[in-house]
Symmetry: C2
Subunit: 436 residues, 2 copies
């Protein structure tokens, strides 16, 4: 999945004058890029208008205001969400309907609610509310999702990093950390098509994470399955069955799974889903009942009518794939053409999800993002995929190609490649912005 194409000689292996010539050429290229006056944005994983259009039928739904039980979806109530919608997501996520809660428009909110309940009340098996612990830590695979990390930082939870690999987090490293330190209360993982690496957590890694002994009796895995159905190829990855694995190994309450339709229907007006053991769900809803009489059941019914069935969701995702797969191909093509073989960058060819993970020459990511910005191409800030925004190697850049049009992706990525090459050449020649 990670690749460099051997189409040119590694830049580091060239003679000094060849490197200087390369640098001069890249400076010219960059000047020309700046002269184009671009305004392009690859910062966030947002669906494009064409993707949103796929769901416009939602705007005229629902056609009825009663759910299957006869309840009026316009009125109060139904804290766990519409049964019909819970059934669809139980099927898709491979869990029991009784384990599913459908909420508002954001799984991020459900994650935050879960953390808040843990902090203020603790889990049923917690010795005390997490707020009363001297310190609470989470294991965070890196690179990872910036909003996970900023949420933890805001809540005063410390972060311990492990490497994200092609088959998921480094499970042995996680197991070693959690075995002895009771202050490590949880971990975050995007198991399928991870943000930003595109990794898919294997059954083996998932099994290890669900079965490993933990010093904390109330250890929780925030299983953020945001991209479970977001395939980019016909080889559709199956998410590891975290809930069953956890239950089978005697830790049924360990995982809390999250998903949403934010990148299925409307990014701002979809529905979010939480799935966990019935005991965890009861605990979650007991505290949630203090803050809500029920989610927007009209939007639940709207989605039920729109999808029709679990298969309806999967078919819908294939239409997304048709729109966005070419953009991911364009990213790979642009990077391969400009950087292949130079030995100054590696990048992923994800088979699902929303991101390409680009690792540039150590110490140049910040420079690349600044060069791109000054050429009118907005990238996610360097380091975003690490806690507190600090990439120890300053090499990681997250590319989000879904929002711009295909031609814009091509233009932007050619520009990004120029910036990557220029920053690498500057560093190798010792002629970077600090040396100039």
């Amino acid at each position: 999945m990670t690749t460099t194409q051997p189409t040119a000689a590694p830049l580091a292996s060239l003679a000094r004058e060849e490197q200087e010539a390369f640098l001069a050429a890249k400076r010219e290229e960059y000047a020309a890029l700046q002269a184009e006056g671009l305004t392009l944005d690859l910062t966030r994983g947002k669906p494009s208008s064409a993707q949103l259009d796929l769901s416009d039928a939602l705007l005229h739904l629902p056609t009825t205001t009663k759910d299957r039980s006869g309840a009026d979806v316009r009125n109060y109530g139904g804290l766990e969400g519409l049964t019909e919608l819970r059934e669809i997501f139980a099927d898709l996520l491979g869990v029991e309907v009784a384990q599913v809660v459908c909420g508002g428009n954001s799984s991020l909110t459900m994650m935050h609610d879960t953390l808040v309940h843990l902090l203020l009340h603790g889990a049923p098996e917690s010795p005390r509310p997490w707020k009363d612990e001297p310190v609470v830590k989470f294991v965070c695979p890196v690179p990872g999702y910036d909003r996970h990390f900023t949420m933890l930082a805001d809540l005063g939870i410390e972060m311990v990093t492990v490497d994200m690999r092609e088959d998921g987090p480094d499970a042995e490293a996680v197991a070693a950390l959690v075995a002895d330190d009771p202050s490590i209360k949880g971990m975050w993982i995007v198991p399928t098509y991870a943000n930003p690496t595109g990794s898919v957590c294997s059954q083996e890694v998932a099994a290890r994470l669900m079965s490993m002994p933990t010093a904390a009796p109330d250890f929780r895995v925030f299983w953020d399955n945001a991209y479970a159905f977001h395939h980019l190829t016909e080889e559709e990855a199956k998410s590891a069955d975290a809930l069953s694995l956890a239950s089978a190994s005697g830790h049924p309450d360990r995982p809390v799974m999250f998903a949403s339709t934010s990148k299925i229907t409307f990014a701002g007006a979809g529905v979010a889903v939480l799935a966990t053991s019935v005991a965890n769900k009861t605990w979650f809803l007991r505290h949630r009942a203090m803050a809500s009489i029920g989610p927007d059941k009209i939007n639940h019914l709207r989605h039920v009518e729109f999808f029709g069935s679990p298969d309806g969701v999967l078919e819908h995702m294939r239409r997304h794939r048709e729109i966005i797969a070419p953009k991911f191909a364009a990213v790979d093509e642009a990077l391969t053409t400009a950087l292949g073989g130079l030995g100054i960058a590696t990048w992923t060819r994800p088979t699902g999800g929303y991101f390409v993970n680009l690792d540039v020459l150590d110490g140049t990511a910040t420079r690349v993002v600044r060069l791109a910005k000054e050429a009118g191409i907005a990238l996610t800030p360097a380091g975003s995929a690490f806690p507190h925004g600090r990439d120890p190697h300053d090499r990681n850049i997250r590319l989000a190609p879904t929002f711009p049009g295909l031609a814009e992706v091509r233009t932007a990525m050619a520009g990004v490649a120029t910036c990557v090459a220029l920053a690498a050449a500057e560093q190798l020649v010792g002629a970077g912005p600090d040396q100039a």
Copy 2:
């Protein structure tokens, strides 16, 4: 607004044998009531189907997916809510647009979020997060809204009660409490058509609450204006201008106002509103950004198109009034007919809101609710309007007449009146369930 009708002699003034005859008659009435086999529900302040029907045009809106600025409401973003909707509610609530946040489908959720932020982070001027205080207390006017009290209890916040009067909370009692005790960090108030008393907080009371010195530097008034536009007569109460009064007296950050369309459009699928100083709003959104990328802006736009303008909201509320005012009249008529002059009950004739506050003979509220239940009439549990469900006089019952049809309200209230009279007679004669 509170009344008893002198149509009969006070029960307590009758001779013993007259009281016994009254008791016997009420027992017969009650037996007949039970024989009817009713199934009626006056428990919660829920809109009826006919009220929800008023908003069914929402099901086919919005007609566009761009907001006024050209932003695509289907996509992520816009944490403070759609400007067009914020303008409508700023106008209606008498605040600045810059002070308004529009959120999801529940103002209760926005109140809970605010409390969570205060607990976990504190306000900008807090000496420390509220969770790190040895004790945090709120002043709670009683009778009040049960969900306010259960939320505080769940969050470990202690409650100190003051009386709710016809012009709002007993402001002198509040001022005396908060002047010396820095652990009293806030208070709750439903300023207009209070739940359950229907009281309207006067400008004078509001001014006192906003200007009173408080020992806590970070004192907050949760100004839950849930019924601001929910008039039952043509004499439409104007809510006190809490934000201006607070600002004028040097405490701009004291009030946080909440409102929603839960009882304007759809109870489960409306939009919620928070209004407060710009400094408070910035603080709220900074923490909210950790849990949400933005609210459901499609539902915001749907509401903007449906209402059209602030006047559109007020016109819409008049259509609600046409449906529910007769139900409130029926409550008063049933109680007056059966209980007028007996000196065993007082009740409110609210000019707005969703409730009738019924005070029965001290010590009989629990008995009345049980009698009603055994006759198939569900009432809110006695004591619900008090912290921890404990009414020190066991006399308060909240009646919610909006959900049943008019005929059902008449039937239910005649039955409730029978239960009130029977319980009172039992007590006066000394022949209650415990004595029998």
